[in-house]
């Protein structure tokens, strides 16, 4: 009886100890998140009361040709950015993994893009890609690669490529440093044994390195996907979603709807549109990691 009481006490103490964190998380994460979901189910214009309309906002978005363009742009922006960041990040990690002298210094330099405020990065890339005064065009013309300036931010396809390039430049160090940290935990014995068996560089990477760091690769990719999908600054500063709506993505579209047009309900629905995809990704990665642990 006494033991049971002690267990109860212990359990109560446990709840009491996690209560502050639970309240904190509930207040700061749960409440805004649930509010956003609720708002997305309402007709809510700034300053007016919200009226519950069920899934009408989502229906309106699905019918909207503009939203389809935005969804497509968001997918292209996110997938394009992540794939390139993954490749460059991996290359950076592999290169640094084998550098003995000046490793710390080079790592510090390569981390710079990740440390610089995004606004500065976006403004810098906007200037670099300017039709008339941009360094890239000036250089291309000077070396005779092109006759006139390339319309980096004017051509719809190139504009998307340009915002992806800026996003990649900002984000690849996160991939590289994370992969490098993971690579450094792989026992050297495995590589030595593989070398004895005659494995070359590619085989070592494919059979040892990649399987050993795939958990980190999955988590980093997931986190970056979420951040990239919600990116706002780069597109807003570089193109404002233009030309036309060629680079309009979920975040800039939601801003336009929610702040400029004051339509919070619809803006929330537009923001929530990527939620199922993100949720699926999170569940997938968590399950994968869990399986790996087991």
């Amino acid at each position: 009886m006494n033991a049971l009481t002690d267990r109860h006490r212990e359990r109560l103490l446990g709840y009491a100890l996690i209560a502050p964190v639970a309240i904190f998380l509930g207040g700061l994460v749960g409440y805004p998140f649930l509010s956003a979901i609720y708002l997305s189910l309402t007709e809510k214009t700034v300053g007016y009361p919200a009226h519950f309309v069920g899934l009408r906002n989502y229906g309106a978005l699905l019918e909207s040709g503009r939203f389809r363009i935005v969804a497509w742009n968001s997918a292209a922006f996110t997938v394009g950015s992540i794939v390139v960041k993954l490749v460059i990040g991996m290359a950076m990690a592999l290169a640094l993994h084998n550098v003995v002298r000046g490793n710390q210094f080079i790592r510090g330099i390569l981390l710079l893009p990740w440390v610089i405020p995004t606004v500065v990065i976006a403004l810098t890339w906007k200037w670099l890609m300017d039709l008339f005064r941009g360094l890239i065009n000036v250089a291309l013309i000077d070396v005779g690669a092109v006759k006139g300036g390339v319309h980096w931010l004017g051509d719809p396809t190139l504009a998307m490529v340009s915002v992806i390039m800026a996003n990649v430049w900002r984000g690849f160090p996160f991939f590289g440093v994370s992969f490098l940290a993971a690579m450094q935990t792989v026992p050297q014995d495995l590589y030595d044994a593989a070398a004895v068996d005659g494995a070359g560089g590619w085989h070592k990477f494919w059979r040892i390195t990649l399987p050993s760091i795939k958990g980190v690769v999955a988590v980093v990719t997931l986190l970056s996907t979420i951040v990239t999908l919600n990116d706002f600054n780069i597109v807003y500063i570089m193109t404002r979603g233009g030309p036309g709506a060629a680079t309009h993505i979920f975040a800039t579209y939601s801003y336009e709807l929610g702040i400029m047009s004051q339509r919070w309900g619809l803006a929330m629905a537009a923001s929530m549109a990527s939620l199922p995809l993100v949720a699926l990704l999170i569940v997938g990665v968590v399950r994968y990691l869990h399986r790996e642990e087991e």
């Binding site: 008339f132 404002r240 030309p243």
Partner: protein, 432 residues
Amino acid sequence: MRTLAKRLAVLVALLTVAVVPALAPQAAAGKLSLWRLKTYIPPADKILDANAQDCAKKVGVELAIQTYTFDDMWTKFTAAIESKTLPDIAELDAVGPARLANLGRLADVSDVVAAATKELGPILPNADGAVKFGGKYYAVPHYAIPLVLFYRPDILAKVGAEPPDTWEDIQRVSEKVKKAGVQDFPNGFPWNRTGDGYDPAMSLLWSYGAAWVDKSGKFTGIPKAQGLEALKVVTRAYLTDKTSAFDYLSWSGATNNEVFMAGKITFTPNGPSILFQEESTQHPLLKDTAIKLMPRGPAGRNLALTFVMNWAVPTDGKSQKDAKALIACVMARENFVKYMTGSFRQMVPLFAKPQDDPYWNTPTGKIIVDTVKQGHPVGWPGPTTPAAAEVVSGNVLTDMITRVIVDKVTPEAAIDEANKRIKEIYDRLPVK
């Protein structure tokens, strides 16, 4: 021991009674908050702040000033509307009074307007539509920053062209400049998501008789024939004559200023800030920079007045009387003229008398004032309404143009799409 504890308790209680009221925050009365636009002209902002602080002393209040830019204005105001924390005095843009008055969140300031009218003369009839609803004034017009046509007289002379007066003229001269090899893309009209895009878009449509409402502000739709004519002239520059670069469609607010001052374009619509920048930096292009009224079309020169700032008194504030007194003081003739004449001809009055001030009696000054005199409020020929505001802020008009240029939609389909969007907005936000 127990006695000591009792004594301590009594001491703490006494201290609490004595000290806490002294530490408590002062009552809100006697303090005012003011939010204003941070303009491109810092010296003018300084004068305005000094005027406002002097006025605060006269009214007997303490004044806290906060600023916002054109880009973050609605972020700040949206949060304040929802949390019911609008300031005592708000400097609102062209659509702000309509939006907030429709919400019942602005005080009637007809008395302040009457006082200002005595000193500054009548309000321009064109400015009324943005601040007067149901016969009452809900904001006091402060100033307008009109968009004028910037052009390069030296380049025009080089190709033997006169300064353009119509939208077609701009196109014709741009072609000449391009053909002469002077500039590749001389026509710097950006149909983008900034005021440099949607303000000229309204001027364009209205100049072709393609307004989307009637005089009462009710939706009628962009008339197809007029809309097509307007679309034809501006899309040709991008699609056929290639006198405009697609990059212009991605410009942010200041890019056209920079590109014009870099000598890469012959024409661009802009507030007079290019003149300020060139004058203050003694820019080499200053002598080769000229301005003109924005172009006219077959239906006349129907210019948009989008960059208009107005003083309003939100009802969230507790000291509306003091707030009104402060606005009246800031708009008093002496204060206003001091501000206006320190604005490098950016801030144009919307009252009659200061427009006649000798300050404007310069070649550029006259054009700037004329632009305001001929300007129309957002939602013209009706009054400014929340629906009209959303047509502009939702970029419906510039989207219509870029759908043709970028997405290669037919002009007819682009107008149909725009009309569908505008109708949905007007159905959702009926005029109260």
